[in-house]
Amino acid sequence: MAPKVPPQPSLEQSSTATAAGHGLAHAAPPKGILRWLLTTNHKEIGSLYLIFSLIMFFIGGIFALVVRAELYQPGMQLIQPEFFNQMTTMHGLIMVFAAVMPAFTGLANWMIPLQIGAPDMALPRLNNFSFWLLPVAFILLLSTLFMPGGGPNFGWTFYAPLSTTYAPPSTTIFILSLHIAGISSILGAINIIATILNMRAPGMRMMDMPLFVWTWLITSFLLIAVMPVLAGVITMMLMDINFGTSFFDAAGGGDPVLFQHLFWFFGHPEVYIMILPAFGIVSAIIPTFARKPLFGYASMVYATASIAILSFLVWAHHMFVVGLPLAATLFFMYTTMLIAVPTGVKVFNWITTLFRGSISFEPPMLFALAFVVLFTIGGFSGLMLAIAPADFQYHDTYFVVAHFHYVLVPGAVFAIMAGVYYWLPKWTGHYPHERLAQWHFWLSVIGVNLTFFPMHFSGLAGMPRRIPDYALQFADFNLVSSLGAFLFGFSQLLFVAVVILCVRGGRKAPAQAWDYAEDLEWTVPSPAPLHTFETPPTYQRPAH
């Protein structure tokens, strides 16, 4: 039984929501900049998150293009190795912490209250605070690039002792900014949990929630569980650097490998933090455009939960070559292989949803379908990486780079774009420009594959990751990757164009913007007024 409401608005009060601001006296919002600084409205904060993450996506993208430009051909042409290392590090940090995570938080802010029939997030003022921490954190982080000794240059995984004893002086600022970003994520997660658990429309049980809400609930638990561990690790780093402790310094009786254990205890769940909400978005889009209820709703929820639990048990598969004992290597190999099962269940469910549907190919659907195919390819390389003996060859090569970019770019990023295209009519009241969106899609798909598919080959052929210059046999693969990266990078300008055009105008969208879309957000008008569901709707279970 899919947890859907019937296509027709089934809410007694949906008419009340139509006219914004009536019924209850809303204080006039402050004007100009102050309005955005002080807003406690989940929709405005959601927009802030999304705009912030788009800007950061471009900044991180520029860093990636600097890297790809240097790697266009063998030899050092454009930048110095020190700067190259700063670029790879910053690219990773910005994309993970400032682009992908805030984008999902933005979507959560916008959509979770709408999908569960709540008037706002549970803690609106906290919501405002957790957003405004982000610009502070990342302006600090970006400013390290201009400090003496440069910014962080030890990779986004910042392994000790390269990131402690041998780090540039700006590392303390890096730690501070990561702390602030971490607090922001944690506050966001608390807010989301409080909202989902306490503010569902009367009659909506947990197993009636849309999958985007479910995946975000589980993601929030992951965030609460692992962000403090990250905070702990960087605090230990800070103490090692500034207060003479030696958590990670062998000279003082510490252990550099401990850093990696702690980091990946955070880092692997972090990977799922970046992909679970994507599963939720795709699980909303595919049924809509296949005009058929999602296959296996319950098993999707269970699979998400078991992926989340397993994610705590696999961290050392990032460390197969640090010299783990045999039993540990075996254990982590088995648990990692096990993750393929629930992940496979998800893919099978999506495909079975398509089977005997009635499928149309609007832009959100295009991105969602590309997500299924390309994420699965990333999953296959992940399965290969799980085989520990083979991982001794794959580890820290471009094969790994190919793997996680397949999971994160056509995975997480495509899902975010699919979500944006899917909900733009709800946000702006206009459909996105179909032609432009199709161009954006096809150029992105071609660009992504040109960029990352050859990396499988260069990795297998023996190219280590994070090197600014490479041997001649890798030249062809890198040339293709660099061309693809520029194609992908510049086609994202189309995305910006589509979004701006859509905000300004375009074909008008009704409340029910997509024919078969069933969740509660489609019962409020498009564009969604500033205040919705001020009287809770009564949720009615659909009768499929």
Binding site: M207, S299, Y302, A327, F331
Partner: protein, 57 residues
């Protein structure tokens, strides 16, 4: 108790009949399911660790 274990096992596999799920949820004791789930997760870890240690000898 046995139905709880069966349901949790089914959840581990990611499969459950809608009918059964409905019954479970109407039973209204989430605590039992959560505890059973955690115990069985720990059990799974135990089995894997045991196999790994056994094989590595």
């Amino acid at each position: 108790m046995w139905t709880v274990i069966k349901s949790v096992l089914a959840a581990f596999f990611g499969v459950q009949k809608e009918q059964q799920r409905r019954e479970d949820f109407e039973q209204g004791r989430p605590g039992a399911f959560i505890v059973t789930g955690l115990v069985m997760a720990a059990f799974l870890v135990g089995i894997l660790a045991f196999v790994a240690i056994l094989v590595s000898r």
